[in-house]
Symmetry: C2
Subunit: 530 residues, 2 copies
Amino acid sequence: MTERYVDTAGNLLEMMVNAAGRLVPRQVNGVPQEPYSGIRRDRPTGRKAAAPVRSCSEFPADGDKLLPSLGEALARAGLRDGMTISSHHHFRNGDLLMNQVFAAAAELGVKELRWFPSAAFPCHEPVIRQMEAGVVRYVEGSLNGPLGDYASRGKMRGTAVLRSHGGRWLAIQDGEVHVDIAVIAAPSADSFGNATGDRGPSACGSLGFALADSLYADRVIVATDNLVPFPCVPWQIQGQNVDSVVQLDAIGDPTQIVSGTTQITRSPDRLLIARFAADFVAAAGILRDGFSFQAGAGGTSLAFTIYLTQMMRQRGVKARFIRGGSTKYLVDALEEGLTDYILDGQTFDLAGVRSLRENRNHVATSPFTSYNWHGKGNFASLVDVAVLGATEVDLDFNANVVTHSDGRLLHGIGGWQDALFGGCTILAVPSFRNRIPIIVDRVTTLTGPGELIDVVVTERGIAINPRRRDLLEATRRSGLPIRPLAEIKAEVDGLLGGTPTRLPRFNRLIGVVKWVDGTLLDSIWQVDSI
Amino acid sequence: MTERYVDTAGNLLEMMVNAAGRLVPRQVNGVPQEPYSGIRRDRPTGRKAAAPVRSCSEFPADGDKLLPSLGEALARAGLRDGMTISSHHHFRNGDLLMNQVFAAAAELGVKELRWFPSAAFPCHEPVIRQMEAGVVRYVEGSLNGPLGDYASRGKMRGTAVLRSHGGRWLAIQDGEVHVDIAVIAAPSADSFGNATGDRGPSACGSLGFALADSLYADRVIVATDNLVPFPCVPWQIQGQNVDSVVQLDAIGDPTQIVSGTTQITRSPDRLLIARFAADFVAAAGILRDGFSFQAGAGGTSLAFTIYLTQMMRQRGVKARFIRGGSTKYLVDALEEGLTDYILDGQTFDLAGVRSLRENRNHVATSPFTSYNWHGKGNFASLVDVAVLGATEVDLDFNANVVTHSDGRLLHGIGGWQDALFGGCTILAVPSFRNRIPIIVDRVTTLTGPGELIDVVVTERGIAINPRRRDLLEATRRSGLPIRPLAEIKAEVDGLLGGTPTRLPRFNRLIGVVKWVDGTLLDSIWQVDSI
């Protein structure tokens, strides 16, 4: 008997099996899909999408595009039922804009919007009410926290489409997602629409995640709480792409946008993982003059950065560049001369914001420069080593970052998939969390193919992907606890009393995971009955 | 009897009369044309052009796109007969690249190319031989010196299409000109294709004129004489748009790229003109805190800048921004605190290059930000006063910058048309040159409509366009020699012994002048019989 699969709108789904052996639908939200076919297999054709041609004839000669309210700006942008509104997540959990935008849309009586954020956060929980009221049909983008939980319970009337930062750029650039109206929260802007995130009371650093939206959307609205005289420099967003500017009392909560200081882990296990990762990088011969690395802003990653920069100091090694997510620790490295450049996709603390504003060698990147797979190369593959996290990893080194082992969608992909293309990808993960093992037989949701994951570092040892004989060879006599992944798994399973039982899965699709090239890597299923 | 008009390829031309009363063809080089219909009348539809979608799958993971020669790069880019090759003119008369490019094309046996430079200079005289040999069919772009003369004598097998800097961006962006292969001369570049003009032995400042080419061309080749390790920062040209990189011994002659110092006029008449222009700006009330101005790098413009900045110092007035073409004098103003910003389209001397590299408030602009008419506004109309030149001006304030009164095409438009949209446009011109009057009954080639030209300043007095009652009123009691333009013309004609006789014109079209919105403003005719 063939299984029957449906989406949350009740549509019967035709399914296909992709090159990773995962079941994925032929259509998502009415759009035909290609299955994942492997790494570096895509050969795109055709041309990029493009914004409408506009004219200075339509805009005031004095450059003043100020409108009195979000409602007015949305109305002038021609907001209609069913349109797609995009936004960026540089304000993270401090965003105060998008709830105002949907409230204004509700007041205009508009229905069935698609929200296309670069990521949604717990602060966007009110959007659930807008979905219940029919103002918003569904959210297409990374769903963190309450919105992910809402989607996981099958309540969203559309399929969540999870893309990496690069994948989101690609989707807009390739024309898969057409943005009708982009709304850009700007910590500083002039009335012409030039905007920057690196200064102002709600400074967040770069506005790179909004760049594609500003280039490709039919209409672009800039909202700011800090209007400056023309020219707003640097113009991270160019006014020539902006239709209107709205001045608001508040667009973001500064205490939530960036943290004053970023917290290093105090867990002895996590510190050990970070130590192992840093030692591995040195033992493998990666730590050499002119090298480059990337590590996130999580507690373990920060500890790794601190260990690694300590080793750089001790050995007199200088990096050519460090890829941010920037933090105080990267800024210290730059200002101390441990690296020539920070190439920064996202600023995580106030030191990062300050440095991006002041240091010419602290360079803002965008998903286009860093991560877009459909460019003529990108920066991700030029990074020598990237230290990343995961919720699960299997014995073929396949990894999951979006769902927990109970199947619940709780995290976005961020730049995780894109960063896998670095010279050496290290997953730095505890071997279990809350008595749930991280190393599993089969990851709940495949987010990254194992052939791109080179090393798994846990507090119980370091497992090297057998494909990387060079790394195995280089570290053989390092004295580090290099062990087969299966051995670590067996040890953990023994400790926890065996592999946990899989929960039964509903055949109701609530989301899909895209691969960086726009193909479908995996499906995400409803976890509760409705 | 109807006159018969042909182009240099022998095609019979259908002509139309545009809103400026000028005769323009319905087709140019086989492409249908719209006649000029007035200022701010265009209402474009449709979407912008776009480059092909490419993939990281096609490019090396280590980012190394180096190829051994221009010929190899052109061959890999698929160079074929009849293609369009574009280039930029930041090296001005010091360009050593494009003659190498066409030599390589000749070696590949390719014919009938269209060259689409942002401007051609006397150093490109060898391209005439390539046209004679059939490698190049014709040049579509500003023609200075020998190439202009060659075209004027009807020898080019295609119609010259003169566009402003903004007009060139528009033509690429709107899809009117499709560039097959862009070649970018880069004073510094990495092997990934990131490139900058602000450093290296052949530093020229910005690479803004090549930006559109890098974004819209099917294939992009970067040629550099200064290969630097990744990342080349700032990436004025993004490697993600670049197909290949070629390292050459020489791409430009540093002595010709920028002048070490820029020369102020010593002519008493020109100094007087500059003085009048500066005094006019003050008298008209334009010189006030937060104002902005633009002046070129010619001798009179430089003198104007010096007079104006002297007045700013004396009066304690600070500009919000100055639009470059940057020179030492603008850099002095910036570093002295006389202006918050230089917004720089083109760097004219070594001080400008140094400042662009070092000063964060010396900001490189592109034709997109400054001049593209088919954007959502541009910077040109935000400039309070622009001082420009002209070869001719008529009593309706219409002006010519491309031909001399003998009809010969000798100059490009540059940013001249675009800059006319500033708050007050001043033409600072001598009343005659080589016994040829500048003020004429009818300009030989209409390049700028009189309604955008507010003031004509000569050594014999200042004429204000009657449309600008505000300026007439503001300067009535200034003591400046404000006079009707006709009165100045009569005085000069008297002095020179009457209006010169018009030369007979051939009905063979050799070029057209586009208006900033892409419509046809005027035609340029052959001057010698063949």
